[in-house]
């Protein structure tokens, strides 16, 4: 049990509090609904029942669902490593001897948390929504339709993800090709992938 207050500690601590609030609100709502269901059917259609349901069916569950979304969207950011399907890639990422870009980013803590999510999610609200829909597809594959033998990236990797951190950095601008009048527009438009010149971030074959 955490001894930290709501506004102290890191995000995980806040999420614990939000989870706790969600559980309490959910139980309270369930209690009201059970009481309503336990009464006579005629009473359920009465005005007092509807007032009770305003709290038990609208206010409390609404807050529970909101808490569930906040906690869920936070937790799923690091859920990529929970399916055994991704084990080879995760092992490569965490392997200190690996020289892949992913491993370097992980070993050097260039991306401190949620490494998979950070690189495989577009920026902004649209990126988050797209990632959630994609994640839902992954869960479907894992539990219902089966994982394909060959795992491929769904769409070409968005160059903006790399440029978000590297673009305009001094080290990046020192490379002639990055600022070349002909190549720069192609890089920025995504026509030229970073991986045309740089090594693939993950092992080319299943590690």
């Amino acid at each position: 049990m955490s001894h930290e207050g709501l506004f102290s500690g890191g995000t995980e601590n806040v999420m614990r509090w939000v989870s706790g609030a969600g559980i309490v609100l959910g139980l309270a709502a369930a209690g009201i609904l059970i009481v309503v269901l336990a009464r006579k059917p005629e009473w359920r259609g009465s005005a007092p029942a509807k007032w009770a349901l305003l709290v038990g069916l609208l206010v409390l569950p609404g807050m529970t669902m909101l808490s569930g979304n906040v906690v869920g969207f936070h937790k799923v950011k690091n859920s990529c490593t929970q399916c055994h399907t991704m084990d080879p890639w995760v092992q490569d990422m965490k392997d200190p001897k690996s020289t892949t870009l992913v491993s370097k980013h992980y070993q050097n803590r260039w991306i401190p948390d949620d490494q998979c999510y950070t690189c495989h999610t577009g920026y902004g609200l649209a990126g988050n929504i797209q990632a959630k829909i994609g994640g839902l597809g992954h869960v479907t594959h894992e539990y219902l339709t089966g994982v394909p033998d060959v795992i491929k990236i769904h769409r070409p990797f968005n160059v903006d993800t790399c440029l978000h951190c590297h673009g305009e950095s001094v080290k990046y601008l020192k490379i002639d090709q990055h600022v070349d009048a002909e190549m720069k527009p192609k890089i920025l438009s995504g026509e030229l992938s970073c991986f045309e010149c740089h090594a693939s971030p993950h092992p080319r074959k299943k590690p």
């Binding site: 259609g45 808490s67 869920g72 859920s79 869960v139």
Partner: protein, 83 residues
């Protein structure tokens, strides 16, 4: 004329809500409980599968419960000629 008080006027019991409204409320409660159940499962044991179930089944049933509740209220308001 005597001072005997007049007998109280006969009172009519409040009209019972229609069975349809009560059924809608019952269904709303059941669906609400289902949604809350998935929420609690997701809080207690967070995993991608339970989160997906919470998002689809839990919130879906909760949304349906709210719809039933709103329909029941509108039905009653129309029955009472408020709307």
């Amino acid at each position: 004329m005597s001072d005997v008080p007049a007998p109280p006027a006969p009172t009519t019991p409040p009209a019972a809500p229609p069975a349809g409204s009560a059924r809608l409320i019952t269904a709303a409660c059941a669906l609400g409980l289902l949604g809350i159940g998935f929420s609690l499962a997701h809080f207690i044991r967070p995993s991608p599968l339970l989160f997906a179930l919470f998002m689809i089944v839990g919130q879906g049933s909760f949304g349906l419960a709210l719809l039933f509740y709103v329909i029941a209220i509108f039905t009653d308001l129309r029955r009472k000629k408020v709307l």
